[in-house]
Amino acid sequence: MNCQDMQKFIHVYLDGEFAEEDRRDFERHLASCEQCRKMARFESRFKAALKVRVPPVTLPEGLVKRIRARLESTPAEPSHGRYYWALRLVPAALAASALILLIWPHSHPGSGPTREVLRAQSAPSILETIARRGRRPGVASFVHEPGSEGHPIKQASFSSSSSQGSNSPFLFSKNGRNRVAVTVFDPESVSLAGLARTRLGNRYIYLGSVSGQRVAVFRHQGAGYAITTDLPTPELLRMVRIMLSNLTHDSAPISQEPNLSRVFQSMMSPDQLQPASVDEEPKPFASEEPPR
């Protein structure tokens, strides 16, 4: 090793990244070269000074607490690699309620839905939160991978198997004019202001509108669901029925391994039309009186 090489690789040596043999070469040269020894001494002191003299970190007040609070209000771990959703519970101490909006695409048969998980600040009324999302034509797909921001892949364009007629449950135009969104939320933490209660089979659902779109809200096994769409009401109710029937037939409780992807795929296919099954007493939402 000559002095030129020493100059280039001094850092590799000081960082301890040399393989055994190269390290010995390096040290052999060092032993015999005053110039390089001086250089090595300087670089070594500089590296040490960097580590020691960089100002120490002071954490902002309460940072750890805030992070822990957020972590502990997040629900179950992801069920599958990239497909997951988060349902936020409201700890008694916090006033904020959280709503998660899932936007479901259905681009091509066979490709599962992908989802975006959005954070919402405190939102007393579910309609408010849906409205804040605004109106978006078509349905956007998002892929969420660890460490990367979700980004829209493309505006999904659908082809339903029968694009016309009342047999097909959903009418999605090929240029993505229609929008369907599903919100999952904690029913204890939202108000149903602005919604009208109606019966669907053996349960209550709540209908309303926001930003020119129709909303149907219902509760199932401790979770609240809101379907928002610009499709007409009969289509919306059909979607509610399909979703309910799939949710009730899904034996796994929501808190573990929810398979919403399957539920939604069935929502998209016309042969899954089943009447909502009678499984539970219609339970009122927290502030409601029981049905008569």
């Binding site: 090793m1 590296k47 580590k51 970190v57 992070i67 822990r68 957020r70 690699g81 460490g147 573990q256």
Partner: protein, 219 residues
């Protein structure tokens, strides 16, 4: 209703919370302001938690989290000012290269290498801020956080050769900046007669394999 998650949270927090200081410190160096730094740490924590299932227990959690944070930061940054930033950084790198010498740093050559002793924390912090981002991140990850070259390569998602190059140029540039500061503050007199040595290219700096090859040829 959600019992399973409590175990996961405790395990995750046990790994994450001891890293808050280095994480926040790194975030601060990346974002350069406290509010954004906290947002970045929050975002990173949530993403890491959601991805926790993909983490192989027993491997380097710190490197894993740092990588998530770097990804997050780069994505946010690139979303904000896409094309301008990339071009700007490339230009900056060339600019700094012009002043990189092939020989020992000016600080080392200067008879008053006591500059080192007079380096105040603020000087170093300020000089670090002035470094182009790629250099700054590499230097912090290596000299301050103590990651290995391999880990830095994974965190920054670049080849090890690039890591070595960025470290070399980053440290050199840092030294030059500190030298300039010292001259400006009158700590040392500017030396005349410093040769302007031609700038190194990335190839010259990092080719350990070239060195090994030439060694074999000479044997």
């Amino acid at each position: 209703m959600f019992k399973k998650r409590d175990r996961g949270i405790r395990e995750f927090e046990g790994l994450l919370l001891p890293l808050m200081k280095p994480l926040y410190g790194m975030a601060l160096r990346m974002t350069r302001n406290e509010k954004d730094a906290e947002d970045l740490v929050q975002e990173t924590s949530m993403k890491a938690f959601r991805a926790f299932k993909t983490f192989t227990r027993g491997t380097n959690f710190k490197a894993w989290v740092f990588r998530i944070m770097t990804n997050t930061f780069i994505n946010i940054h690139h979303q904000r000012n896409r094309d301008n930033r990339l071009v700007h950084d490339l230009e900056k790198e060339d600019h700094y290269d012009r002043f990189l010498s092939n020989g020992p740093a000016r600080m080392a050559r200067d008879p008053e290498a006591e500059i080192l002793d007079r380096m105040m924390s603020e000087d170093i912090a300020a000089a670090l801020e002035e470094l182009p981002e790629e250099f700054r991140l590499a230097v912090i990850l290596c000299d301050i956080e103590g990651f290995s070259y391999k880990e830095i390569a994974e965190i920054l998602k670049c080849p090890i050769g690039t890591v070595m190059s960025r470290l070399y140029r980053g440290r050199r540039h840092l030294q030059n900046l500190l030298y300039e500061h010292a001259v400006q503050q009158g700590i040392i007199a500017p030396q005349t007669g410093h040769e302007e040595i031609k700038a190194d290219t990335e190839d010259n700096v990092t080719r350990l394999d070239t060195y090994r090859k030439s060694k074999k040829q000479n044997q």
